[in-house]
């Protein structure tokens, strides 16, 4: 060892990689995450990318980031603030300074810290000499130059050599976290499988970064994060969008069906369409439609024809699909609608997260048009809730809206791989060929679902459509009393789902002074903040909802017996107002944030203390 080397054991650490959109920060972040998973850390990641593809180099608008939180303990969020920031240029530094902890290690590519870049980033003073970085451990590494030299001497041309600098960064990080560099080399071998010249050059740069770190004084203290103790078994790192796609595929297999996904590309939902498109080998068919309406319409057609039909979208697309969701409601066909929420209204903040579509999902259609609405709460449990959405939709013969969000969709976490034999059965209410006296609107007496007769089946020809139908027979009907009956049946059918979903859990004491209420993608931050306060002995509990319509049967019980209820959401209070309409007997305080950002543990704790301290 070339210098006096000290290793600090950490329970958890947050690293943020930031650079120009083209700097390869997403790749380095993924490589670092995979390496951490490989050695047994728990982890959570979140990419933070602009809505422009390649905004002007060196500007704040062009900064792309990737945050990874790894731990020896269980990790539930990508972390509020970073312990280590990699900033490839001044803009990346400027955009991320407020997301860095005091005393953090900041690794900068000194080659890009010049007056030209300061101007592009909007710095008036040289940030390296105006004392603004006092208190941080700043590592000024000539990343661009050293990478380029090594890569070019490995035979790459200047332009390609320039793209290897992310591996220099990776090398630094492998040193800083005492990681086996061979894992990084294997990652590159598999990444550039068919391009041996790239493998060779990137490995050389990776080693250069590692060796450089070894020699410099600013990195004489390194960190070690032990594997998680109580997480045993087989794991993979999975994003919310991938987990959603896999949940649908899994549900189809269990139900003996094949997936049909009719969809139109929209940020941040597109990866689900891309993922399903890769799995024709499981019989899945994806149909990239001409617009959002055709996406859902094709899915409704496929549902009529007997597929597990799905459509995926984000807020503006859900608005466009409203009429068609109503058609699925009145034709009582199974359909999964995934809405990966983003900042709104209109185009809003397409790459940022929000929970602004709850009321749209619950009510955003003409007429009495009830849908089952559920929400996933972590990237990995998108698998379970996509599976559940498909199960409920198929077994109850009605559309289900699954709400995820940009934070879950693009974020990833370590996921214990399930086995299909452990997954619950899915039994669509199909009809046997030539069943005598089949009528399309006959119903199961318990669930009230109608039965699914599929074109091609002999003896079951029938017609469905958007006009109101007679109870049982399915003839077109304008009869006033029949309409009342049918609206009631469709409503009742959705309400009855309550008998087939789990009770609402409460994490903590059932009579805690403060009940924190959340739903969907905010789970990680809420459970972390609540657990922290519980460990300090405060009387606080969390009720985090995944089933939104219908609400779990014991919701009233859960809300009882607390001095205060605080509903935390990334919107202006949609779930709070929904609870007020369903359970008006309680008073609901609100914590609302609408910045395109996830909830932070720190800000939640401030709010929780404030309320707890006010309780006499």
């Amino acid at each position: 060892m070339a210098k006096n080397h000290r290793v600090i054991e950490l329970d958890e650490v947050v690293v943020k990689f930031a650079g120009d959109s083209g700097d390869g920060m997403q790749l380095t972040g993924t490589q670092f995450s995979d390496t951490s998973a490989f050695i047994g850390n728990d982890l959570s990641t979140f990419p933070d990318y602009p809505s422009e593809i390649r905004a002007p180099q060196g500007t704040i608008a062009g900064v792309s980031g990737f945050q990874v939180h790894i731990g020896h303990k269980e990790i539930t969020t990508p972390g509020d603030q970073a312990d280590v920031l990699v900033a490839m240029n001044p803009a990346a530094l400027k955009a991320n300074m407020k997301w860095v902890k005091d005393g953090a290690t900041i690794i900068i590519d000194i080659d890009n810290f010049d007056n030209k870049h300061y101007k592009k980033a909007g710095f008036e003073e040289d940030p390296l000499h105006d004392n603004s970085l006092d208190g941080y451990n700043v590592v000024k590494a000539p990343i661009s130059e050293l990478s380029k030299n090594v890569a070019m001497s490995s035979g790459l041309d200047a332009k390609t050599a320039d793209k290897t600098k992310n591996q220099f960064v990776a090398g630094l990080l492998y040193w800083l976290f005492n990681r086996d560099i061979k894992i990084g080399e294997d990652f590159l071998k598999s990444k550039f499988k068919s391009k041996p010249d790239l493998v060779k050059a990137n490995i050389a740069v990776l080693r250069e970064g590692y060796n450089y770190a070894e020699t410099i004084e600013a990195l004489s203290t390194t960190f070690h994060v032990d594997p998680v103790k109580d997480k045993k078994g087989l794991f993979r790192n999975i994003t919310g969008n991938q987990a959603t796609a896999w949940g649908l595929l899994a549900a189809a297999e269990k139900a003996g069906l094949e997936v049909f996904l009719g969809s139109y590309p929209i940020t941040p939902a597109t990866e689900i369409l891309q993922e399903i498109a890769r799995h024709k080998h499981l019989g899945a068919v994806s149909f990239q439609a001409e617009d959002e309406i055709a996406g859902i319409s094709s899915a409704i057609g496929a549902s009529f024809a007997g597929r597990l039909a799905c459509t995926t979208t984000s807020g503006p697309g859900l608005a466009l699909k409203g009429e068609a969701i109503g058609l699925a409601v009145i034709t009582e066909l199974p359909l999964v609608i995934v809405n990966v929420q983003r900042g709104g209204p209109s185009t809003g903040l397409p790459t940022k997260t929000e929970q602004g579509d709850l009321l749209q999902a619950l009510y955003g259609r003409n007429g009495e048009s009830p849908c089952i609405v559920i929400a996933a709460s972590t990237p990995a449990d998108c698998f379970n809730y996509a599976y559940e959405a498909a199960k409920l939709s198929l077994e109850h013969m009605t559309p289900v809206i699954l709400l995820t969000d940009g934070y879950l969709a693009n974020g990833s976490e370590l996921w214990k791989i399930p086995q299909m034999k452990e997954m619950p059965e899915i039994k669509p209410p199909k009809v046997a060929d030539n069943t005598p006296d089949y009528y399309p609107y006959q119903r199961d007496p318990e669930k009230l679902n109608r039965f699914w007769a599929i074109p091609g089946q002999p003896g079951l020809r029938h017609r469905v459509g958007g006009l109101e139908k007679s109870d049982v027979t399915g003839e077109v009907s304008h009869d006033p009393m029949n309409h009342q009956v049918m609206v009631g049946l469709r409503q009742k059918k959705v309400e009855k789902v309550v008998d087939y979903i789990p009770k609402q859990r409460i994490e903590g004491q059932e009579d805690a002074d403060l009940l924190v209420v959340g739903w969907g993608g905010t789970y990680g931050a809420l459970i972390s903040a609540v657990t922290d306060l519980q460990q300090e002995g405060r009387s606080i509990a969390l009720a985090h909802f995944n089933y939104l319509n219908p609400l779990p049967e014991n919701t009233g019980e859960v809300l009882k017996n607390h001095k205060k209820i605080l509903v935390c959401e990334l919107n202006m209070g949609q779930f709070a107002s929904y609870l007020r309409s369903k359970y008006p007997e309680f008073e609901y305080l609100q914590f609302n944030k609408i910045q395109g950002l996830p909830l932070f543990i720190s800000e939640l704790k401030v709010k929780f203390y404030e309320i707890l301290n006010s309780i006499k």
Binding site: D34, F260, F287, D291, A305, P455
Partner: protein, 342 residues
């Protein structure tokens, strides 16, 4: 020779009758189309449970309620998109779309061009009465410019779409035109549409007795129809007229109406219709022909074989199933980067 077999008749007209009331106006062209379809379906050889009728919204789109098949009366403009999903989900089904000039040319214009572009094997029956009937008499995208309707009291100031032009523009493989008053022609055209593998568009010039009565009279009127229509048949000369003595002939690169026996013109000089020509330039010319300079073209104007969407799709699925090592969800779950924590 297997090709010489007549399709096995697996259904009769009676099989497709529903028995309930047909709620179109007396004199509506829809009745004739419905009756003709019931005659044609048994001739297609498709088992009755494999036939699906899909419609949008409008007078035309009540069709599925009047015929005993699987049926889906959907949303305004969306029949083509719903049918795309049905056919992609199950290519064995024989899918018919019944739509109108409002449904497919206005609100559903996007889906109309895209189903054609994809060449999904469905049959589109486009009821063109050049008016909004079910909303009671507003102009549609096919209403002739200048027409006075409830929403154009001073005459429309919009150009009219020709469905045939849109079909060609979307790289359509089949376009035919027929009229509601000629059951024989409809039967031939519907059968040809059914036989065609790919998106078949059939424009039916249809009379709305209430809001656009006699809108097609210059084409379909008893006195004028033979002189004002030309029925095109592949491989036959383009000949028409009461006396069967008029025809179309090339003059430079333009088609010109000529009379056999005048100026030395003989039947041999007439253009022979080639519906199978992959180049659609002449088909374009034919769909654009308008009175009074030309007769209006009827019959199968274009019929070209190309790959269909659903065949290519399911070939990809088959290939993927055969070649992928991942045969089940469990295989997928264990594929790629899996980390074991002991």
């Amino acid at each position: 020779m297997i090709n010489n077999f007549e399709p096995v008749q697996v259904a009769t007209k009676e099989d497709f009758k529903l028995g309930g009331p047909v709620k179109w106006c007396a004199g509506c062209g829809g009745h004739a189309v419905l009756s003709t379809i019931m005659n044609v379906l048994p001739e297609t050889g498709v088992p009755k449970e494999n036939v699906v009728f899909v419609s949008g919204i409008g007078c035309s789109s009540r069709f599925p309620y009047y015929i005993n098949t699987y049926g889906f009366h959907s949303m305004h403009g969306r029949a083509n998109a719903i049918a795309s999903g049905i056919k992609a989900a199950n290519p064995d089904l024989s899918v018919w779309i019944v739509t109108g000039d409002g449904d497919s040319m206005a609100i559903g214009g996007n889906h109309f061009i895209h189903i054609i572009r994809r060449n999904i094997d469905v049959n589109i029956l486009l009821f063109n009465n050049k008016i909004y009937g079910l909303t009671k008499g507003q102009y549609s995208p096919t209403t002739p410019r200048g027409s006075v309707t409830k929403t154009s009291p001073d005459g429309t100031i919009e150009n009219a779409f020709k469905p045939g032009e849109l079909t060609m523009g979307a790289q359509g493989t089949f376009f035919a035109r027929t009229v509601d008053s000629d059951p024989k022609m409809m039967r031939e055209v519907f059968k040809a549409a059914s036989d065609h593998k790919g998106t078949s568009v059939v424009e039916i010039l249809l009379n709305c007795v209430i809001f656009a009565n006699q809108v097609h009279k210059d084409i379909t009127g008893k006195e004028v129809r033979q002189d004002n229509q030309i029925y095109l048949e592949h491989g036959k000369p383009m000949i028409f007229g009461k006396e069967r003595n008029r025809g179309l002939m090339w003059k430079g690169n333009q088609m010109e109406v000529v009379t056999i026996g005048e100026n030395g013109v003989t039947e041999q000089d007439l253009i022979v219709h080639n519906a199978f020509d992959p180049d659609d330039v002449n088909h374009y010319r034919l769909v654009r022909m308008e009175l009074p300079h030309y007769p209006v073209a009827m019959g199968v104007i274009r019929s070209v074989e190309e790959n269909t969407y659903e065949t290519d799709l399911h070939n990809q699925v088959k290939h993927a199933r055969e070649t992928s090592k991942i045969k089940s969800m469990d295989d997928l779950l264990m594929s790629g980067n899996v980390f074991e924590s002991k």
